[in-house]
Amino acid sequence: MELTEIGKSYRRLDYQTKVTGRAQYLADMNVPGMCHGKILRSPYAHARIRKIDASKALNVPGVVAVLTRDDILHDEGIEPYYGPVFKDQTIVAVEKVRHVGDPVAAVAALSVDAAEMALGLIEVDYEELPTVLDVHESLKPNAILVHDSVKLPSSGFADLAEIKPVEGTNICTHFKLNRGDIQKGFAEADHIFEDTFTLPATQHSFLETHACIASAEPGGRITVWATTQNPFVVRTQLANIFKVPVSKVRIIVPYLGGGYGGKVYPKVEPITVALAQKAGRPVRVVLSREEVFYTITKHAAAIRMKTGVKNDGTLIARECEIHLDTGAYAEIGPRVAKKSGYTAAGPYRIPNLKIDSYSVYTNKPPAGAFRGFGVSQSAWAVESQMDIIAAALKIDPLELRKKNGYNEGDKFVTEETLRAVGLKQCLDEVATAIGWGSGETGRDGDTEKKENIRRGKGVACMIKATITPSISSAVVKLNEDASLSIYAGTVEMGQGSETVLAQIAGKELGIPLGNIQVLGVDTDVVPYDLTTSSSRSTFHMGKAVQLAAQDLQRQLKQIVATEYHVPEEKISFADGKVRLPEAQIAYAEVMFKRFGMQGGTLIGEGQVKTSTKDEFGEKSTSAFWFLAAGAAEVEVDVDTGKFKLVKYATAVDVGKALNPLGCRQQLAGAAITGIGQAMFEEIAYDNGQLINPNLVDYVLPSLGDMPPVIEPICVEVPDRNGPFGAKGIGESSLIPVAPAIANAIYNAVGVRIKDLPIKAEKIYLALENRKS
């Protein structure tokens, strides 16, 4: 077998099981004795629960357990309040419901049918309350409060330690960032631009809905199979809720059918465990498509951006107010506020800043993590306004970005030094790919020249951080035949992490890929990993695996020194073997020598823990930075406002493309979600009710909507700390899509759309307004 390389597009390790339909996802699994759970949800956006009577439900044949707030509140063994930042969620509603779809009760039964029938017999007496249905309403003085008070955690994420809600208001988080002197900055500006940009709530729409199987054994052991991206966080939360040591909670995560941030932090796990405890047997809950819309969304936002610019295009001041609609529960809203605040200056040097970013409660389903969160909101504003500035000053939008864009060694808004900054390279790559500055685009020429059709090109770029501080640990186990097992808590949700981790270990140790097994995620078995999100796994877990492999190598060296009586300095490794001055020894041979038989195990361990200071003692808001750019070419029909994408190019600085095909997949894939967010997707509400919680009326991008070419380009500016220089890939490519398209439309027909999605009607109306 050949040695493992990095920078090679190996066929992914999870592919064979997936193309044959053998891969098991949560909803495919059964455990012995399992029954089915269903959730009763509030029909009101805001209401007090006067009374719940579930007695009739219990009488339905096949019903095993019914769960209401009485169980949550009166059980000594349950701490009802939880949440990733603030403990403002409960397993089921206790005093009131705060959004349509808020869980009120649950039933476990021998069949889904019986469970549904029982749900229909639970009588809930609601007292409707006035609602706050958007941020504007929520922020009015004397507005109805979604939460009268919010519990803070005793300890939580290090990066959110000082975040507190604003008492007596619906402000869940107010993040501030000030730099320089904003008044002076505006005074020195030659031009001031002020614009407001908006975007709606959208849904992750993974094809696999949230699901969970929970089993609560006598003695307190809780076993959970969960569709979660961060099993260790969920484990901690469940341990807190059900008042058991973390060691008593086991979370097993199979392959996920997509995550995109919608499966982080507790979702259906607490309610499933509570049901399982009450039922005294395992329970499986699988959400319907509609229920997913009530469970988690992406933050809608309104961003007011005021920017001061010199005549030559230098950005010198920015004041920005961001309002994020966090829905009824905080979820990770506080971090979204922080992230959008940090990136409100974009990837540009702006000396004077006043940024206020708010996550605000409303009576709508909770908003939380969504691929690229915080940045996709701010970048929509930042990158749209850059082109507004460019047009006014008659500067090429690409040149304006390059003029102000970060270079290696520049200071971020937090005054920390930026290293490994591939921004300009990304911009240049997409500009070349889209044929920037020329009429020719390299398209396949199948559109006839018509007088109602206009073409245009647009570009956008971004900077993003990764969650810091954070922790990843990995263990590698060398088996007696020198095959390797990798224990890592990274969840394989389609991003190809399994394969990349195997490649890293394989390269480090010289073991062929076919001899490497990455174990499934089981918190009983794999060591702690904070989360599979924030595009962090290649860097953090990849590094942990690399360190673990190196740890293993050190042990092999020690063993060889002892067993073969060779000084350590004369021992090296190459081509998967141990090299001595006079000989080469295969690992299996070393193992045999060490253990005296074909048996035994060597274990290597690696840990990565990033902190708020880097190795230079400097502040570190992010262990590394993501830089990316995108360019779009569109064709607009001025008679209808409808446009199509002729081409899209996306470039991401990945540090090092460990698996180039895997990188390109992620770049193109994220861009496609970006296309959906830019052109079609929005959750529609009518008085707090969701109008389109289904995949017919919530419109996803189809294969038929794709441009003939989406060109993914991997730029490599290696990071000094990443494994082989690698950084991260998952989210970056999504972020520039919407502004690049809006900029292309402006280039084509001269109208500026400031509200997502960029629908044909909006373009049509803007054109109509311009005529009159």
Partner: protein, 154 residues
Amino acid sequence: MKKAISLRVNGLERSAEAEPRLTLLDLVREQFGLTGAKLGCDIQVCGACTVLLDGKPVSACSFLAVDADGCEVLTIEGLSDKDKLHPLQDAFMEFGALQCGYCTSGFILTAKALLDEHSHPSEQQIRDYLAGNFCRCGCYQEIMQAVKEVSGKA
């Protein structure tokens, strides 16, 4: 009341007792243990539940099992013969035409139906056929490449 039905699933004669409301998806998943077809949207738009019925792609989530009486059903599990994979399965792996894998069974079966109907489809024909299968991970480009590769070799 249940109706006795018999059908061929992946080449094997199978029989079942089906209530009229039982969907073909529930039949193959729950009763026959063939979990490759997935529930995605429950209203025929996403394609994750696609199976071939007498060679034609249908949404199993909205197809009554009783209507499959006497029919030939092909699920993803029936496509490969032990270790011998169908050329589409190979091509999907080769071109990276899947990430999370949830849409994959549906896409491969739909592509098979396409190639059975047109062995050398045009780009537009491939798009028209596959436009009704969603991939949220965004593998559309790679899927097109994989299907073109197989049709080119046919």
